[in-house]
Symmetry: C2
Subunit: 355 residues, 2 copies
């Protein structure tokens, strides 16, 4: 079930080495949402394109903001600037971002709404995203970032379904879980549509230049163990297996946020090369559950990065100490927040490089 | 560190037997927020007292709504009708419930606000709650519910601090975590005040008639492992040890919601008799982490209870099968939601009684 790993070589980029099975120390580092509002240069670009969807479809600007944090901090990975909801948008489901409210979508609650989704247009509607991927890859090479790996991504089917069913964000996605119980056949059909579209979308990202793929299952943790298996593990298995057949050299990182005790089963049963840990996870306990065949990525508290100083050093050190010499990709446990002082990010990267 | 258990006897109430170390099957059952808006008889009482704090301070009505679900479903536990925020209210911090918004409190962010808290008034201001406890105990006896155990409760210090610092509910209690990193000394002082006040409050509940105590740490899961140890495990240790000295016969159930992999350390290091599992936890994996000396309580998805039918039966059966013959207290993984049809609760209780 595992994708065939590339044989590690010392010439390989650090992130790819870890994903190929090597222990790399100091560990490679990047931060979720590293291209974001905490950077003044990002806010300047953002101000030029008030509509967030339009920014995601603007290859020049999306590539530019992806590269900004690499220039500042020399991260080991650049991650495509986009949004997990671009996939439902490409399926024709509709999407808007309202200031201070987050995403707003129609609510998918019945077969008629499901039947209106059009998977045939995904690649063409998302062609600008693929152009962004290609531009980022060219930018990394052109600016000499030859140790930085380009990560493409998608939302995992369950998390994308959460937003499509709920019509936006939610504390606990109660309507989504209610539908999963009340109409399992409809829910399974929706998951199947999303699995297919996600494979198509991620495959196109690899063709455009993505070297690693990441699946964000931000709301995996709201599910009971039985639904977690059905709507988190099984779809990830399918996606990873399909991608492994199409792109055997491209590793997948899975991030089942708040998976808790389910993280072991997720890591071992899906075929992923690395698993993202959220902030609450004890990194050593998680690494033991996950097993030696799978790398771990995480899991600094973004609020420690806001605080800086001894709190930041202590929290980062706890992770470095717990996993010293192991297959770690240092990251946050959740996205960086806008009020983060950029100099704290610099201090963190320095600490990790000296680990 | 463990409170000395009562020796189990067959004459003991089922919930107390499980907490004393016995395997009771079918397992005792009760539901978090079982006295609540899903019951028409609750809504009738609620309509008479629009102010929620006033209802918590009305011994006749609070006892009445506590007893309502026992009369309908014969649950093995009645839990005091109150709110975890009555403790900050009693400390003089202020509290209001706004329709559709949830609790609103002043924001505690500095030493001056901390110094304004007055722990000397907790018992006197919460005297009506103790009267409620006594009335419930009398009501259970008077109405012949001699197998139903009365549970008293408090919010755990970290979760109470979350609301006091944030000034209300939050998705991720970012300001609370930021303060924990930025001013650990202030945060520790607040936790110490809350530990003392919680011991005082819970001790008074036992004196008034509570047979078991429960500590709700609803937001434990937002913390990194280092902060979880410092602000979840250590305060619970202190509270349980102090209560064990004062009331050695009263077991404590701890509920560190979303603790994930930390649930084992929490259960083993705090001295609790049982640990509550949230909806996402695999009950068998959690029970193994927790160890045989501690009972588990949980963890049906409240949305399965809304759905009813085969979804409900299947989810309940998964828990019963995973822990058949073990020390289980059947419950939800989170509070019952208002849209739950009461007849689904009846069907669940029937299923468990036949397990």
């Amino acid at each position: 079930m595992n994708a065939a790993p590339r044989p590690p070589t010392s010439a390989m980029k650090p992130l790819l080495s870890v994903l190929a099975g090597e222990k790399v120390w100091p560990p490679p580092v990047w931060l979720m949402r590293q291209a974001g509002r905490y950077l003044p240069e990002y806010r300047a670009v953002r101000a030029e394109v008030p509509d967030f969807v339009a920014l995601c479809l603007d290859p020049v600007r999306a590539a530019e903001v992806t590269l900004q944090p690499i220039r500042r901090f020399g991260f080991d990975a650049a991650i495509l600037f986009s949004d997990i909801l671009m996939l439902p948008w490409a399926l024709g489901h509709g999407l808007a971002f309202k200031e201070g409210e987050g995403p707003v979508l129609p609510k998918l609650r019945d077969a008629a709404a499901l039947d209106r989704l059009d998977p045939t247009q995904v690649r063409s509607r998302l062609a600008p995203v693929m152009e962004t991927v290609t531009r980022i890859r060219q930018g990394l090479a052109g600016e000499g970032f030859d140790r930085t790996t380009l990560i493409g991504f998608a939302g995992a089917p369950f998390t994308v379904a959460c937003y499509m069913i709920e019509g936006g964000g939610s504390k606990d996605f109660a309507a989504t879980r209610a539908l999963a119980y009340a109409d399992p056949a409809l829910f399974d059909r929706l998951m199947d549509v999303l699995v297919e579209a996600t494979v198509d979308y991620l495959s196109a990202q690899v063709e455009a230049g993505a070297e690693v793929l990441m699946l964000f299952d931000s709301w995996a943790g709201v599910l009971s163990p039985t639904l977690f298996r059905r709507h988190v593990i099984v779809p990830a298995q399918k996606i990873v297996a399909r991608l492994a057949a199409l792109h055997p050299e491209t590793p997948v990182i899975g991030f089942p946020r708040l998976a808790g005790l389910m993280v072991g089963a997720y890591a071992q049963e899906t075929g992923i090369a690395a698993v993202g840990l959220d902030t609450g996870m004890d990194p050593l306990a998680a690494a033991r559950l996950v097993g030696p065949g799978i790398a771990v990525q995480g899991n600094l508290d973004p609020m420690a990065l806001v605080a800086g100083g001894t709190a930041l050093r202590g929290e980062a050190e706890a992770i470095l100490t717990a996993l010293r010499g192991q297959r770690l990709i240092f990251n946050l446990g959740h996205g960086i927040v806008p009020q983060t002082p950029p100099e704290h990010v610099g201090a963190l990267v320095e600490q990790i490089r000296a680990a």
